[in-house]
Symmetry: C3
């Protein structure tokens, strides 16, 4: 099942349209190519709707947001809704500034993403009871919380927004439609490489492009990302070489690699 999605990506090379941040663009494009998908980056108002019309998934990421980019995300999101292709939202830094939190909420309202992936602080800032957590609670773009608290807020956001929610961390929690899964793959050194969260969101886009079940697509993408990190860590001497070996691992991982390494719990 897990490998089926990966094999389908490699066979179909689905076009994934990304409106993402400047830091992540190169890493994200390379990860999508390595896994077998076809990335495209386009943000001009004059073309985002037409580009969405060619794509099989749309990934929105607010990591270096500014008004024209947010406008492009809204337009692209509406076009993707109209076409019925999956939309992934990565609310980078939501909770750190009001502008990020408000933009993330605006995108949730207007675009109704299929899947939202963030770290615990980001998801907390968007969950229905996110009063105190909404502003000033994030240090940079990373954080950790207790496992039950994490699952609870992911469930609250998923129920409220009728979407799949993935809270990434040492253990990734995926929630949606009453289901919950935990993915325990990955390696601590991954936290020392920039844009790997953004990369995970982009991979979710590729998996959702070929798997009609967005919950399962998200679980599979997070497992593949974590396994690639583990395979890379075995060859890396630090975060620099990890980054490159991770791309190599995405490219060459086999069904046997996935079977041997996947640590997915339920459902």
């Amino acid at each position: 099942m897990l490998y089926d999605d990966l094999a389908r990506i490699r066979a179909d090379a689905p076009l994934v349209h990304n409106i993402t941040n400047y830091v992540a663009m190169n890493s994200t494009a390379n990860a999508l190519l390595a896994v077998g998908a076809s990335p495209v980056m386009a943000h001009a108002l004059a073309e985002v709707e037409e580009m969405v019309g060619l794509a099989r998934a749309l990934v929105l990421n607010i990591g270096t947001l500014s008004p024209p980019w947010v406008e492009a995300m809204l337009r692209a999101g509406a076009a993707a809704r109209a076409r019925g292709i999956p939309i992934v939202l990565d609310p980078v830094g939501s909770g750190a500034t009001r502008y990020r939190t408000e933009t993330a909420r605006r995108l949730l309202d207007a675009v109704a993403p299929t899947i939202v992936r963030g770290n615990a602080s980001e998801i907390a800032s968007l969950a229905p009871d996110a009063g105190a957590a909404a502003v000033g609670g994030t240090k940079g773009v990373d954080s950790t919380r207790g496992s039950e608290e994490t699952a609870g807020m992911a469930r609250a956001l998923a129920d409220r927004r009728r979407c799949v929610v993935c809270v990434s961390g040492a253990t990734d929690v995926v929630v949606g439609g009453g289901r919950l899964a935990r993915v325990r793959n990955g390696h601590p050194l991954m936290a020392r490489v920039t844009a790997l969260g953004c990369t995970a969101s982009a991979l979710i886009g590729a998996f959702a492009a070929v798997d009609p079940d967005p919950f399962q697509a998200t679980v599979h993408a997070m497992a593949v990302m974590g396994i690639a990190g583990e395979m890379a860590a075995e060859r890396a001497e630090g975060p620099g070489t990890l980054q490159l070996h991770l791309l190599d691992a995405l490219h060459r991982m086999s069904a046997a690699d996935l079977t041997a390494r996947a640590r997915i719990e339920g459902p």
Copy 2:
């Protein structure tokens, strides 16, 4: 001859002014440095003309275009024309959306680039008989066509625009002034690394900066790019490590490497 251009780049370190896309900027700058050139990225309307005045080549790339960047390309292009330095146009994604096709044509009209490099879909969208091909014919930014069809549309574009046209692919076709060459260097894994097409366009800029014959400069740049890819593939375990070894190869390739590996046919 081939090595003479490379030696001249290493000796002169020509300044190559790039107005390019966000995905490719870092890769492109590193490739230009690795080959021995001096890259500069500048797109502000307030400075592009002055920066062109310092440069020996201008490279325009529409990969993540938007109106202010297109305006900068038009101004920089006019300044480059006035100075008589070579201009390379990389029409990334032309054919995929109307905005890209129209922008690429506008740049062809207004800037009259010395050299145009794209994949078969991109060149097809700009060739004189590009009716049906102009819109919707591209999947992402990559494609393949028959060898004769490719040469024919490259010739048509080169004749109409009085420029050199390079159609890159498994075999690169270079056409201009009645001449045609094929470069059979490269490695399939290169297609799994982002921005290598953009990098090839930037290298063409460096070669055209030191070689007064733009046809020959283009052939040489494509051969050097392909050979670097081959040398890198011998050490790489996937697309991640390929990218880095390619930069190493650009930096260290010798006259003997080029002589032993170059697969250039005619003229």
Copy 3:
């Protein structure tokens, strides 16, 4: 002393807010993560002041400047001044175009950075007697000058602006408050990798975040950067692999590495 700063960065993971150029963003974020800091990139006018409020240092870099980004730098700089956190200015390409020189001077006037780091041409364009040097004197973004001339102009700028000035080159010169130090670490291959100057400026931000003496923080950051380059060069086969090994070295360098390798002269 030198290792104390690095240990404090690794322990505290200070948030460093960067408003930097498109070429350097990914490299810079990775270097800050590798050394143990927490990078954030944010440039929207709607959030820069709030983001500065979370940060322990601000790094401003004009490498791909345009009016909205300059406006963001001015606002963020004012907020950082008000909070009393250190501000690092990297005047990339100052001296190459009037727009860059004027913007760098405007930032010096309005923001009064704590530390300015540039190459000899950039610093020359900003020094008080920078008449003829101000325009047209730069080839790309790199240059070299005599050691005494370099120290003299660094002193002049530091005195006039009451800041620390670092002129990077084969030997880095750091001046401020009547003190002068030279750092002789580094490797020639580093000049063939893009954005390493920008990376040095970002590291200075991380060191200034944890060390209340900006002169010392600058000397230490430049030594750590140079030592990482040396350690990387021992494993690299060219500029591509150097870049990755440099990140690994930042991540794993020990007190013993610093003691054995640091080549700092005075004060």
